[in-house]
Every structure is written in structure tokens, then in C-alpha cells.
Symmetry: C2
Subunit: 171 residues, 2 copies
């Protein structure tokens, strides 16, 4: 796909088929995402790719509980990718966000849909969330910044909303 087309046509996908994303395609998109810019080029974030059904169920349930709604905030996705930032970095949130933005684009380039899901910091502050993350035995010093629901899009590609006026101001 052409670069500009990629940027202009990627949309958040909120409906996925039951088919799990091809492992090699997923791995390559994750690799590409690590080329995203990070503060001082430190490559400080960490990505966790979750395919384990039980862990996905827990993430869905806890995220929904923070939202206070009985829904699946991951839209039935069978893969969830979490981005963690290094807490000690002043660009902790920006760095992890940067990787998730790249990842959304890299996945879309391969025909895979994704949607941002927030509230991750709160998820891992809940007792069950703490238990889950402890079971993963991640390196120390990281904080969850965001996540992507990932899967093959079910249905038409979402249309783009008109961009707001005055998004850009020239000085």
C-alpha cells in the first residue's frame, strides 16, 4: 500500500471475525512497530502480545468493570496487544503511544484491524489485574499505557468522519 493512502485510510475497527490473526504477520507488524520514535531514541517501551484466552477474558472483564458497563471493550478480539512505558522516562506515555500508533498502521497495511482500548493503568491496579501481571513476570519499572484490540475486520471498512474545522492553526 502507498504510504499516504495508509495514513489517510486506516480506521479503528470495532468488529472482528473469529479467525485468529496469522502469527507470522502479527510478529512482523510488531517488529515494524518497534521502529516508532521514542524519547531520545531510548526504545524504552515494552509490548506484550496476549493470545492466551484466559488472560484475554480477564483483561476484558476488568476493563469493562472500570468502564462500569457489561460489554466487551475489545469487541471480541482474540489478540490484545498491550503497550507499557518505562515509568522513569518523562516521555513514558508518549513513547508507548508512539509504538501503538505505528502498530495500528503496520497491522492495517497487512489487512488487520485494530482499535485502541484505554484504562490499562487502572486494570493493573485492580487485585485481579495485579495477579495477572505478576504471573507474566515482566521486567521491573513499566507502567501500562494503552492497548489494541487486534483481529481481521468483520464487515465493511469503517468510513472516515469529516475532520473538524480549525484542527490546524498557522502562526
Amino acid at each position: 500500500m502507498d504510504a499516504k493512502e495508509l495514513l489517510l485510510t486506516r480506521r479503528s475497527v470495532r468488529s472482528f471475525t473469529d479467525k485468529r490473526v496469522d502469527r507470522d504477520v502479527l510478529k512482523e507488524a510488531l517488529r515494524v512497530s518497534t521502529y516508532a520514535p521514542t524519547g531520545m531514541g531510548r526504545q524504552s517501551p515494552l509490548l506484550v502480545c496476549v493470545s492466551d484466552d484466559e488472560a484475554i477474558e480477564t483483561l476484558k472483564k476488568l476493563n469493562a468493570s472500570i468502564l462500569g458497563m457489561d460489554i466487551d471493550p475489545y469487541y471480541g478480539a482474540k489478540t490484545i496487544i498491550l503497550a507499557f512505558g518505562k515509568a522513569e522516562r518523562v516521555t513514558c506515555v508518549e513513547d508507548a503511544t508512539s509504538l501503538l500508533v505505528y502498530l495500528g498502521l503496520a497491522l492495517y497495511g497487512e489487512g488487520i484491524g485494530s482499535c485502541w482500548v484505554h484504562r490499562m493503568k487502572q486494570v493493573f491496579e485492580l487485585p485481579e489485574g495485579k495477579k495477572l501481571i505478576e504471573s507474566w513476570d515482566l521486567p521491573e519499572g513499566y507502567v501500562a499505557v494503552g492497548s489494541l484490540a487486534v483481529g481481521y475486520p468483520d464487515g465493511e471498512h469503517p468510513t472516515v468522519a469529516e475532520r473538524k474545522k480549525d484542527y490546524i492553526i498557522y502562526k
Copy 2:
């Protein structure tokens, strides 16, 4: 340019020629950046494209003063693009970051270099920074999240640093 090539080869540029970036190319890259994902599709951020020499001098000076170093943190760039997030949004930082990531890619696709420069919130908390932003008469409720130094690259395209091991963990 091919989409994957764009993602893999964009690098931060820290040396710019004296030539100011073509206005139409800049405007188009800024337009493309507004297609970046934002929390709940709210399009909450705001971009300010600064070409005014005096304002650029002030931004450079104030940013350097926070850094505590007598350098130009914008590497001689003649265009600075600031991203503001809407303070009331929980995704304030993520949304503004998302646009800057898209913008860096859109600019690179057109042969224009850019580099993230942080410390923007602090810049506008300084008396001279407050004065500058008040003179711009921006809409209420926005907070500066980050900025890009923008210009035509001077010299070779920067090489990519090897990606760290264990950037991605599979669960």
C-alpha cells in the same frame, strides 16, 4: 513510498538546511496528520504550525532554558509544529502524540525531516511562554504536549539503531 518502507525507514532528523519547507507540502502533511486516531474519535487535539521567526526564537530560547543548556533544541529548524491536547480528555497526551507520530510519517513521505522536542508544557508555564501563547489567542482548554522541529534534512539520512532485544513479549 511504500507503507512498510515508510514505517521502517523514517528516522529523527537533527540537522536542517536553511530552506523553509514548501507551504503547500507542509499544509498537506498537516492535513494527513489529522487522520490519526484519537480517543473515541473525538479529534480533540490542536496543531499549531509556527513559521514566525520571532516566535521560533522564543520557543528555542525557553526550551533551552528548561533544558539548562545553551543550545538550539530545534536544530535550526525554521518551522516548529506544536501539538496541544484537550486537558479535559483522559487521552489528552495520547491524542496529541498520535497526531505528531502521523505528522512525522507524513512529512517523511514528502522528503521532509522532523524531530520530536519535548518540554512544551513547561515552556508555556514560563512568563515569556505564557505571553507568547496568550498572543496566539488559541481556543480555551488546551495543554501543550509536544512539538516537532521541521525542515529539509541536511546531510545523509540517519542510520537506524539496532532494536533492543525483548522489545516484544508473547503471552
